[in-house]
Structure formats: structure tokens, C-alpha cells
């Protein structure tokens, strides 16, 4: 273990946050997010265009040589904090984080190097076809297999459930077994033989669905010497950076709560003057301060390419998941009846926080996994 890297925000990160927060305040108020839940269009396409194309944030983790910004996980983390604060209904995490890092960790190839610039520009959206609950360290998925036809063309068959943005992605990065060996393949989502469904999700701002492949043509992009490490990299990156989403939701929940505690009166006093509520708000603030340090450490460990990244990622998930859920639950409770209504945003934060805690491994899973990583073996 070397020195702890900087856990503060740089000026560049602060500027990025300010720009994005301004955009989201203008274009993504919670009332719009809520209204969309009752429509058949879960994604805000115009917001995606602004975030990806105008601000260039879809390509943060893509090298400049492939059309990206060549930034690090630290900037991506700040982006996720802000998007989560606004419960923004855009597929940033599956495309710009999961699929992108699976691709950047795969070797250069024509298919990969055509895909990445499109992802960087935001003109294409990608996803990683694994269940969204898959944790780092999971066994290589075996639900999709591939075989070569007489012309040497690869075809994929099988299915993956609860894939993030399954119904929206233009490109799929698919972990696949070919002759029992792990590979990654790239699939055009409009290819023949591919069907997809959208589930009704707990967090309606973050749809998942099933992708079924029946002999779908594909291009292999990582072989058995490369694919497991590329997938592992994507999962560690995903888990580490979700902590920043959790931080964002927790902060927003507490801010809404504190505002309400100052204005709502009962028994002739603002409810924020009752110690039972003041102390719970103070505890949340303390937990969020700790979550911030932990999420920052996970992002910094990734940015530095540190060996400690898998530990940092599981640590961040083990801690920040619960903080976010707790903050969102307290937000509902301290709002009383209004906090339980559809017309109030508290349930948006609650659903985002709870579903976040299930993505890429639950806190309990990550604690168990950490035991293996830090030599504290289970029973």
C-alpha cells in the first residue's frame, strides 16, 4: 500500500461539475423525470445528445486517438455523481462506463476502433450483455455461445437477462464462450436473429431487459488470453464508479431532507428543531462525508491504475451502497406523508439508490469478496 492519492476534487473536476449541474438543472428537473415514467420513452434522447455530443462526456474514458477526451475515472466519477443527483434517464453508465471500458481493455482491432469513436461522439450507445447484478470476480458468463460457419463468420446464440439499456443499445459487447473458451464479441443490435425486451424496472429511469441471440453474426474482439481480463476490468471499473452515483443520490436526498426540515412546521416549530430529526440528519451528513472519501479513493485508484483498485471498488460498494439507501429512506421518512406520494421526488431517489445497491454486487457480496482480497477468509 502506497500513499493515499488525492481525494479532493481538482479545479477541472469542479468546472466539469458546475457545467453539468447547470445543464441538468435546466434540462432535467425531477418533474420531467417523473413525467417520463408514465410514457413509453424511458430515455431522454435530447439530454443524451447534450451530455454526450455537446459536452463530450460520453468519451471521457476513451483515448484522444480514438475520438475521446482521454480523461480518467476521476472525471467520469464526477459525471456520475451529477447524473445520479438528477436521476437523469440516460444510458450513460452502461455505454460510457461498462461497454466502453470493456472495449478499451480489449486489443486494438478494426471492429473495436470503429466502435469507440462512435461511442465517444455519442452517436452510438453500447451495453455489456451481462446481468446488471454481475459482480467483479464472477465466473465468465456461459449463457451465450458462439460458433463459426463455413465462411469463418462468427454467430452467437443464447440469452442474457437484466441487461442495462438492452432495449436502447446500438452496439452490444458480448461475453461469449466459443468452443468453451471465453471471448468478447461485438454485435450490431439491428443484426438478424437478435430480439430484445424491456422489463418494468424498480428504477424506471434505468431500464433493463433480456437480449436473445439466435445465430446472430458477430465479430470477435478479445480472445481467451484477453477476454477475462477485459471483462474483469469493466466490472471493477463499474463497481468502483457506481459509488459516485451512490454519493450523488445520497447528497441529493439529504439536501432535500434538510430543506424540508427547515420549512415544515409542526407543533409551532420547524420540524428541523426537533432533536430526533436533527441527529439523524447529522448522522447522514457524517456518513456521506465518509462515503465521499471512499468513492473518491475508488476513482483515484482506477485513474492511477493502482493494484489496489479491486479492493477500493469492493470497499466503495460495501460502504456507499448502504449510505445511499439509508439517505433515500430517511428522505422519505422525514417528509412524512408527502414523501410517500408519487408527486414528490423522494421515491425517485429511493428507487435509484435501492437498484444501485443491487448493481454489480450487493454490499453483502462485496464484503465477502473483500475478505478474499485482504486475506480475511470466510468460514
Amino acid at each position: 500500500m502506497t500513499d493515499i492519492p488525492s481525494l479532493l476534487y481538482t479545479d477541472v473536476e469542479d468546472d466539469l461539475r458546475a457545467t453539468l449541474r447547470g445543464l441538468l438543472a435546466d434540462r432535467c428537473p425531477w418533474s420531467d423525470v417523473l413525467a417520463r415514467v408514465d410514457t413509453d420513452e424511458p430515455y431522454d434522447e435530447s439530454l443524451w445528445k447534450s451530455v454526450a455530443e455537446d459536452l463530450g462526456l460520453a468519451g471521457l474514458l476513451i483515448p484522444e486517438s480514438l475520438g475521446g477526451a482521454g480523461a480518467t475515472a476521476r472525471e467520469a466519477a464526477v459525471t456520475l455523481e451529477e447524473l445520479a443527483r438528477a436521476v437523469a434517464p440516460i444510458p450513460y453508465y452502461p455505454s460510457a462506463i461498462l461497454a466502453t471500458t470493456a472495449l478499451t481493455a480489449s486489443p486494438a482491432s478494426e471492429a473495436r476502433d470503429n466502435a469507440l469513436p462512435a461511442l465517444a461522439a455519442g452517436t452510438a450507445i453500447a451495453t455489456l450483455t451481462i446481468p446488471a447484478t454481475t459482480a467483479p470476480g464472477a465466473e465468465f458468463p456461459a449463457s451465450i455461445t458462439g460458433s463459426l460457419d463455413a465462411n469463418g463468420q462468427l454467430h452467437l446464440t443464447g440469452a442474457a437477462t437484466t441487461v442495462l439499456a438492452a432495449d436502447r443499445a446500438d452496439l452490444l459487447v458480448v461475453p461469449v464462450l466459443i468452443d468453451g473458451e471465453p471471448h468478447l464479441a461485438l454485435v450490431d443490435a439491428t443484426a438478424p436473429g437478435l430480439t430484445r425486451t424491456r422489463a418494468t424496472t424498480l428504477d424506471a429511469t434505468r431500464p433493463v431487459g433480456t437480449i436473445t441471440l439466435d445465430g446472430v453474426p458477430a465479430t470477435a474482439i478479445a480472445d481467451p488470453t484477453q477476454a477475462p481480463a477485459a471483462l474483469a476490468h469493466a466490472l471493477v471499473t463499474g463497481a468502483a464508479l457506481l459509488a459516485s452515483e451512490q454519493l450523488g443520490v445520497a447528497e441529493r436526498s439529504l439536501e432535500e431532507t434538510v430543506t424540508y426540515l427547515k420549512t415544515r412546521h409542526q407543533f409551532g416549530r420547524p420540524i428541523g428543531s426537533y432533536q430526533a430529526l436533527r441527529h439523524r440528519a447529522a448522522d447522514l451528513w457524517a456518513d456521506i462525508a465518509a462515503a465521499r472519501a471512499t468513492a473518491r479513493y475508488a476513482a483515484a485508484a482506477l485513474a492511477e491504475g493502482s493494484d489496489d483498485a479491486p479492493i477500493a471498488a469492493s470497499l466503495a460498494q460495501a460502504y456507499c451502497s448502504d449510505v445511499a439507501v439509508h439517505a433515500a429512506e430517511e428522505c422519505v421518512q422525514m417528509h412524512g406523508g408527502i414523501g410517500f406520494t408519487w408527486e414528490h421526488p423522494a421515491h425517485l431517489y429511493l428507487k435509484r439508490a435501492m437498484s444501485l445497491s443491487l448493481l454489480q454486487g450487493t454490499p453483502t457480496h462485496h464484503r465477502a469478496a473483500l475478505g478474499g482480497l485482504v486475506n480475511l477468509p470466510s468460514a
Binding site: L7, G272, S273, Y274, H279, D283, A293, R296, Y319
Partner: protein, 402 residues
């Protein structure tokens, strides 16, 4: 904290040069440690962010690290904070911010070297959380103040030459306004220290009786009636001192728990594994949170997170030592030694049985402001929530029901 940051434009290179000159003039390998600490103070390398003449250089706080690294490289023994924990953590910043020239030059050097230990005479039997309600009286008499009262829970009073004393100088004013702060010489006549045994069996703290103690007015800190302001400087530093400080991974009380888990496979169950990992996660998260507080401080942007760190430090110590006892099985039923002893300085409570640490940790959520009081501090000062209604702040102190 005085922070003439960069006013003198001190650079890292100058600090390195100063350390090299210090080590050349007084070889750390052969010079007596306390004597070396004195020379280090004179060279402005005790706290580089303190003003010149106060053991500092008026340098940015971030440069302290440079001094520490260079001193270690020169072979100097690290300066153990437990030689004078209350003096170094709280006394020094209070003297530096509120002391007169004369007080600074009399008090800071021996405080730093540990030749003169400090204690904190704040709490009283009737005033703990409600510190501003205290009753110890100081009455002006010519160039002196005559002090009468009783203090309690005073850690290391039995070792102390100096005390931070908060006393009431005007009972007709509301509670916060009638207080004045003094630097008390504990060797003055009328100061009596009696050990107070605590749950662990030993006595870290004491009762201190003050009977007609004559304190010269030259040892008053800041103005008459400014005691509350001065004591807030002390308390803010106390919370940082108790909660803060960078440590290595698995430093602190998680260390024996992790060691026990690794060395004794027979105690392992799946349910206990989750508890051990929860404790490990809490410890590592707190370590990172403390590191972030340190980085904010070094960058000259101190935040209010110190109070949060003190709350979690107490909780983690308590939960982890409880788990330690549970993992200890039969050993958990034994205790090494209940003999009444007065605790020594130097932080030498290593190697005791788990029960000792379990019991000692109970004090962590009481000393330096209880967890409940700290939550109130965060609610008031950070979240700016509406205050609880109070009946005691505007009345003259002497009219408050007790």
C-alpha cells in the same frame, strides 16, 4: 490556528535546508531526544505553519509533511504526540491564537518538548456538555485573579504543569458572556489533584480542587469575558486531535481483530465473517475519510468533517472491540489487571487484554464532547438546521435553575 500561509514565502526547499542545518548542528543520533526537540522548535520546525518564534515559520501547513519526511531521512526519532497529548493537540493552538507574546514565548517551547505537560480544566460536576454553565469562580484582586471551584474528569492533571482553565468572572452576565480563559500553573498553592478511578480500573483522569488559587493577570488568555471564544479554539482542535490523524491500513483496533481471525480458523463462522468485514470496511472508510480531512487541511481548505470523524472513531472503536471480545471466546471472560494505577504519558497502553480496550472505548463517545453533542454541532453549524428552543442563553447565569 495561526496561518500566515505563505506570508513569508517559505518553500519546501528552504524547509529541507533548515532540516539539514539542524541535523548538522545537532546530530539526532547522539543528541538527547528532548534537547533535539528543543533545537527543532528553535529552528521553526515544530509546526511550520505556526508563526516565527512560536516553533514555526509561518509556512503553509502542507509543508509540515516535507519537514517530517526530511527529519526522518536525517535520522531524527519521530516526535511522539503522546508525550503531551492535550498540550500538543489543544494547548498549543490555543496559546498560538489567543496568547500574548509573553505567554507564547514562556509556554510553547517546553510544551512542544514535553518538558511541561498540559491538561484541560473545563468540565465540572455540574457542567459537562453544558460547558458554558460552569461555576468555578475567578475574582479580580489587584494584578491577580483568585480562583475557587472544582473540576472533574481532568485527564493527565497528575502529570501536568499547565492547565487550560475556563472560569466564571461575571455571574451577572448570560452564561456564555461571563467566562474568562486562563493558563494556570498547576504548581501554584491551592491546586489539589486527586485521582479518579475509571471503569478500566486505572486512573487517567482526576478531580482538581481549586482553593484560593492566585493566577496573575498576565496568564489570562485574550480579553476578560472572551473565555467562550477561546475555549472554542480548544474544542475544535480537540475534536480533530481525537478523531483525526492518518494511519496505515489495518492500523487501530481492527488490527488485533484481523490478526485473531487470521490465526484462529476455529472461531470462523459465516455470520461472524460478515461482522468482521463490516468492521474492516468501517475502519478503512474512516482511514480514508481522515486522510481526506488531512488533505483539505493541507490544501488550506479545512472543512467541518472533523466532528464527523470523531463520531465515527468512537462508534468504530466500540463496535470493533465488542466484536473482538466475542471472537475471543473463553479469553473474553478474563481481564488482565484491575489494579488502580495512574496512567503514564507516552501512549503505552499496548498489549492489554481485549476487555481493557472494550471498556476504554466507552469513553470515546463521551470525552471531547459526547456523540450527541457533536451531532448537535453538525446540525447547527453544517446543516444550519433550526436550533432547539432554549431557555438558558439570555438569562444572567446566576438565575439559571441548577
Amino acid at each position: 490556528m495561526p496561518q500566515n500561509s505563505g506570508a513569508t514565502g517559505v518553500t519546501a526547499e528552504e524547509i529541507r535546508t533548515r532540516v539539514r542545518e539542524l541535523a548538522a548542528a545537532h546530530d539526532p543520533a547522539t543528541t538527547d531526544h528532548v534537547e533535539f526537540l528543543g533545537h527543532r522548535f528553535d529552528a521553526g520546525l515544530a509546526w511550520v505553519h505556526f508563526p516565527v518564534g512560536c516553533g514555526g515559520l509561518g509556512a503553509p501547513r502542507a509543508l509540515q509533511q516535507v519537514a517530517e519526511q526530511e527529519l526522518a531521512a536525517a535520522g531524527a526519532k519521530p516526535a511522539n504526540v503522546y508525550r503531551n497529548p492535550i498540550g500538543l493537540g489543544m494547548g498549543a493552538p490555543t496559546v498560538a491564537v489567543h496568547g500574548t507574546e509573553e505567554q507564547r514565548s514562556r509556554l510553547l517551547r517546553p510544551l512542544w518538548t514535553g518538558e511541561e505537560v498540559w491538561c484541560q480544566l473545563f468540565s465540572e460536576p455540574g457542567a459537562g456538555s453544558d460547558l458554558a454553565g460552569l461555576a468555578t469562580r475567578a475574582v479580580r484582586d489587584g494584578d491577580d485573579w483568585i480562583v475557587n471551584g472544582q473540576k472533574v474528569w481532568t485527564s493527565f492533571a497528575h502529570k501536568a504543569r499547565w492547565a487550560m482553565l475556563l472560569a466564571r468572572t461575571d455571574p451577572d452576565l448570560p452564561k456564555h458572556q461571563g467566562l474568562t480563559y486562563f493558563f494556570l500553573d498547576m504548581s501554584l498553592p491551592g491546586v489539589e489533584v486527586r485521582p479518579l478511578r475509571q471503569a478500566t480500573g486505572q486512573a487517567e483522569f482526576n478531580e482538581v480542587f481549586l482553593t484560593d488559587v492566585r493566577i496573575p493577570d498576565s496568564m489570562r488568555a485574550d480579553e476578560v469575558g472572551k473565555g467562550w471564544t477561546v475555549s472554542n479554539t480548544t474544542l475544535m482542535n480537540e475534536r480533530v486531535a481525537i478523531g483525526g490523524g492518518a494511519s496505515p491500513r489495518e492500523g487501530g483496533v481492527i488490527s488485533p481483530v484481523a490478526a485473531l481471525w487470521r490465526s484462529r480458523p476455529e472461531v470462523r463462522t459465516p455470520a461472524l465473517h460478515d461482522q468482521v468485514m463490516k468492521a474492516w470496511v468501517e475502519a478503512e472508510v474512516a482511514r480514508l475519510a481522515n486522510a481526506r480531512i488531512g488533505q483539505q487541511l493541507a490544501a488550506g481548505k479545512p472543512g467541518p468533517e472533523g466532528s464527523a470523524a470523531k463520531i465515527s472513531f468512537a462508534r468504530i472503536n466500540q463496535e470493533t472491540t465488542r466484536l473482538w471480545l466475542e471472537l475471543s471466546g473463553e479469553d473474553g471472560l478474563t481481564y488482565d489487571d484491575w489494579t488502580m494505577r495512574r496512567v503514564d504519558l507516552g501512549g503505552s497502553d499496548g498489549g492489554r487484554s481485549a476487555g481493557y480496550y472494550y471498556l476504554r472505548a466507552k469513553g470515546n463517545s463521551i470525552e471531547g464532547g459526547t456523540t450527541e453533542i457533536l451531532r448537535g454541532v453538525i446540525a447547527d453549524r453544517v446543516l444550519e438546521l433550526p436550533r432547539e428552543p432554549r431557555t438558558d442563553t439570555k438569562l444572567p447565569w446566576k438565575e439559571i435553575p441548577r
